[in-house]
Amino acid sequence: MPAIECRNLTKYYGDVRGIEDVSFTVKDGEVFGFLGPNGAGKTTAIRTLLGFLSPTSGGGALLGHDVTDPAASRRARERTGFLPGDPGLDRDRTAAAFLDHQAALRGESSRDALVDRFGLDESRRIADLSRGNRQKVALVAAFMHDPDLLLLDEPTSGLDPLLQEEFAALVRERVDDGASVLLSSHVLGEVAALCDRVGVLRQGHLVAVESVSDLRSRGGKQVRVRVAEDVDRADFELRGIMNLRVGETVSFTWTGEYDALIDLLSGYSVLDLDVVDAPLEEAFMTFYDGDVPGPTGSGGTPRGDRAARDGDEQRDATASSGGESR
């Protein structure tokens, strides 16, 4: 029995598309990542699976229980933990009171261990806690009943890097103990570090599902080259070159054969050359930008987002235009 089964799941808010025709399966014991920018539908998908939203069409099952049947969904939630990125907590209650309440609703077999591990001071009022500490409260609530399935929606937002590491370790332990995980993030590194497979959501559509190891092997090479001559951008706009940036240094992701790269560079006096495995993020962008059939007419490719984020030299104008339009 798969941990999660999502069948043609579609959710519209009135006329506004949340997700459309999303199908995937999370196998028992698997860590599946949902990757996509904010507004891509990650949260909608997770909240529909939890029964918070009723699907416009399609359906799904958590731990074999139909998510559209309230009684069945409740049985699934008995063994499910949910951690939202920005949890709604009662600001005027103490962490202890909130966790006592959550414990009464779902159980608390490993509460004390988690509170100790994350160094949470339960006696404090939630309003007086920092964002990171509030996230810890929700984290303890999500994990304390030792669920078989974890739905983690942007779980590490608000956690400092050290705590992110501790959180990742906790997730791995739970997976080793047999739990299955659906984790959403807009940070590839986080997903890649934890997940077996990644599903890419874009504008409500699941546009690709890839195993992380496949993604790595298909990633190509990250090339940075400095040449003596002035470079004409057009000379580098070739098949096999992605993420091209032309400045003092020319950098791009190379997905073709080495010989072709050598042929290309032979026309220049190379002053400095650096060829390394593309970081997964580059690999992902390459893959995302080129091969993935997405909805037409969208200017907002991830590559544009990335260029805008990096804010560096000469960007590919077409890729970056409309990058913030979502």
């Binding site: 939203l53 009723s54 949890p87 709604g88 959550q102 609703l105």
Partner: protein, 271 residues
């Protein structure tokens, strides 16, 4: 697993605990308000003014709105100055307002996501949130009769204990109906601030409507208002206890909570 309480009990308990301090503060303030009015009574009754003749000159709708039967006796004075205003209107509106923020507030803040990610039925949430306000209603109606009784003695008057108990016993179904109305609105209107104002405004509008039609041929139409079924003046001044009204209010309470359950069961949690 088996040692966990039923979800609706857990939700009611958590909610009531969160309201404990506020409930005590409001109870204290209303007690002070009651004592303040009682302190005025001796000077009023010895002033030699025929207050009953004065209030009889008010228009019928006004008399109806403020439940004015007689004002010169301690019962009439309490009924007009405190129960009709504070208990019927003020507390009723406040309870509707509080309840209006419950479900809608939880959904909008994301608290509902955490509650419902546990194995909890939507029905349990509605019932738990309703019951979470019940201790406040009970507290008010247990403390204030004692305060009123002691206050009346303190100003050198006496009052029938039975009538004082009755006016509070009959207030409980009325207050519960106000809470239930607020809960129902909270499942019908998604924005918590709007839900609170709608609940409060609707109850106030019904109260005014009932007051206006009471002195016309269409008085029966005013029965749609919960305020038509709780008459502190009749209980205090005349010793008439509207048990039918109490039964209607309890039935309305059950009906409104059931409506809230039906509504919330189908609702998408999006604020």
């Amino acid at each position: 697993m088996s040692d966990r309480p039923a979800p609706w009990i857990a939700i009611a308990r958590y909610d009531a605990a969160g309201r404990a301090r506020g409930s005590l503060v409001v109870t204290g303030l209303l007690s002070a308000f009651l004592l303040l009015f009682l302190a005025f009574f001796p000077s009023l009754s010895t002033a030699g003014i025929d207050l009953d003749a004065y209030v009889e000159a008010f228009p019928p709708a006004f008399q109806e709105a403020f439940g004015i039967i007689a004002i010169s006796s301690i019962e009439g004075f309490l009924a007009v100055e405190f129960y009709q205003f504070a208990w019927l209107l003020l507390v009723g509106l406040y309870l509707a307002y509080l309840a209006g923020g419950t479900i809608a507030g939880d959904v909008a803040s994301g608290r509902m996501d955490l509650t419902l990610s546990a194995p909890v039925a939507r029905r349990d949430v509605v019932i738990g949130r309703f019951l979470g306000l019940v201790p406040f209603v009970v507290l008010l109606n247990l403390v204030l009769p004692v305060v009123a009784y002691v206050g009346v003695l303190a100003v050198g008057e006496t009052i029938a204990v039975e009538r004082l108990v009755a006016v509070h016993a009959l207030a409980v179904p009325y207050h519960l109906a106000c809470v239930a109305a607020g809960i129902a609105v909270s499942t019908l209107v998604s924005r918590p601030g709007v839900a609170q104002r709608v609940a409060l405004g609707a109850l106030f509008a019904l109260f005014m409507f009932e007051s206006v039609v009471a002195s016309t041929d269409y008085a029966a139409v005013g029965d749609v208002s919960p305020t038509a079924h709780y008459d502190p003046s009749a209980a205090l001044v005349l010793g008439e206890y509207d048990l039918t009204g109490a039964a209607i209010l309890l039935a309305a309470t059950a009906g409104l909570v059931a409506l809230a359950v039906v509504r919330f069961r189908r609702a998408d949690l999006s604020g």
